[in-house]
Amino acid sequence: LLTGRIKNAVDKLTGAKRLSEKQVNKALREIRLALLEADVDPAVVKSFIKRLREKTLKAEVIKGLNPGETVLKIVYDELTDILGKNPPELKKGVVLLVGLQGTGKTTTIGKLANWLKKKGHSVAVSSTDIRRPAAMLQLKKLAQSVGVKYYDFEGYNDPIQIAREAVKKANEEGVEYLLLDTAGRLHIDEELMEELKKLKQEVNPSEVIYVADAMQGQEALPILKEFHEKLGLTGVVLTKMDGDARGGLALSVKEAVGVPIKFVGVGEKLEDLEPFYPDRMAQRILG
């Protein structure tokens, strides 16, 4: 179960009875590198390791475990604790999905619609993406596969107007959830971020969900922070977790921003959506 750097960290400490400062520092250096390799933000790694150092130096070797295993258990528990508390639920109303280009927003809407429908809720979906070729058709097809209402605004050229009319229709039909797709955009595109702000004001969403690719590198946290600052995120979906990215963004988000990770995308099919399990994520991040 222990591979690579963490095994190194643990082996280095085996044979000792207490956690000496020198040994702990050596182990923590390996853990620091493991977290950086998992694409955790360096500033987050720094503060996390600092807190870990305090905990491990105060700790005594746990009964039944050697010192190396004790450090590992402390790291794992701390990580699981930070990642924890993310119930896979969405407040009823308008759910707005936002994020960079190609992260999986449109597909995730299909998956969420499927999830909510299976739980017995009434769902409608609509797209404000007037930019990407065949974006609306993509969502329409997904809606048809799931079997939920799709509000078609093909031919419209104002995302705000689409949002307004979609909400109106959802209210008239009394649906519990309206999932609204948006075009992928860069956090540094002032015009498009402003458009998103206006969109949020128009629909007054119950949830603003940021869809992030689990493989995103060192810019992942700064980008998320920018979206959070401008819109106020209520949750995150981490996609493409069926790959081998360690998903360090999960730690960065919880530690630095505190927005809960509600779901995880684990494939391309509509059933490939799971709740976020902090203990599994902790193991994955540690590699």
Partner: protein
């Protein structure tokens, strides 16, 4: 670029972090920091210039121009989900049709919803011809139909779109290999170019992607997309160093003209801004 200008232990810690933030990977960041430490430079400015030189040296060592010499020349686009393959094909087709080339676009992503329609729209915008089929059709069958048309009707270039696939899915890598085999039925050398499309926003995982894709098929070049964002795309430094695969184009936006040939100088200078 550097917050500290005195070369103490804290400077080297900061250097390692800065290098990691470029997405060049932890191992490369550590070894480069060690390298700089041993050089014993006198100022932060010297360190910066040294690193710029190193990056330019590494990237120049695997330069490769995008050249199409066969008629028709087949270019296969592969890569993970959402990296920008379909959009890149639209951009490249536009470049080629502007040069007077007769371009055929073949839609071999028959899996994802509206993938064929999305590519068809790009073909229209690029003034290229299009071959596709409905969702669920065997991608090999569409490829065969497209290549037959290209070879019979005197096309200059065939651009083939494929479905996004994670490098960890072996059966999907095998499907990609089958497509290359089909090209070999028409041109025994196979595609003239197999372009791996990588998203600059992705971190160290790009290195794994490049490794697994290039061990499955002969990747001849990389297109690095979404460089108009804030990610520096440093993973290509490690990819170049370990796999010797050249970057041939960069994507710098979502419009049809947003494709540029890769320029080492410009890329490295932007990295160190």
């Amino acid at each position: 670029f550097f917050k500290r200008s005195k070369l103490g232990e804290e400077f080297y810690e900061e250097l390692e972090e800065i290098l990691i933030k470029l997405d060049i990977g932890v191992d490369t960041a550590i070894s480069l920091t060690e390298e700089v430490r041993e050089k014993n430079f006198k100022s932060a400015e010297e360190v910066k210039e040294y690193l710029k030189g190193r990056f330019k040296e590494i990237l120049s060592s695997c330069k490769g121009k995008f050249r199409l010499t066969r008629k028709p020349s087949v270019v296969l686009f592969v890569g993970i989900n959402g990296s920008g393959k379909t959009t890149t094909i639209g951009k490249l087709a536009y470049k080629l049709t502007k040069e007077g080339k007769k371009v055929l676009i073949v839609a071999c992503d028959t899996f994802r919803a509206a993938a064929t329609e999305q590519l068809n729209e790009w073909a229209n915008r690029a003034n290229a011809d299009f071959v596709g089929d409905k969702e669920g059709t065997d991608p090999g069958a569409v490829l065969y139909k497209g290549l037959k048309k290209a070879f019979e009707e005197n096309y200059d270039t065939v651009l083939v779109d494929t479905a996004g696939r994670l490098h960890t899915k072996e059966h999907l890598l095998r499907e990609m290999q089958k497509l290359v085999k089909i090209v070999k039925k028409f041109d025994e050398k196979g595609p003239e170019e197999i372009l791996l499309v990588l998203d600059a926003t992705i971190g160290q995982n790009s290195i794994k992607q490049a490794k697994l894709f290039s061990s499955a098929v002969d990747v001849s070049g990389i297109v690095l997309t979404k460089l108009d964002g804030t990610a520096k795309g440093g993973a290509i430094v490690a990819i170049c160093k370990t796999l010797k695969i050249p970057v041939k184009f960069i994507g710098i936006g979502e419009s049809i003209e947003d494709l540029e040939p890769f320029d080492v100088e410009k890329f490295v200078n932007a990295m160190f801004e």
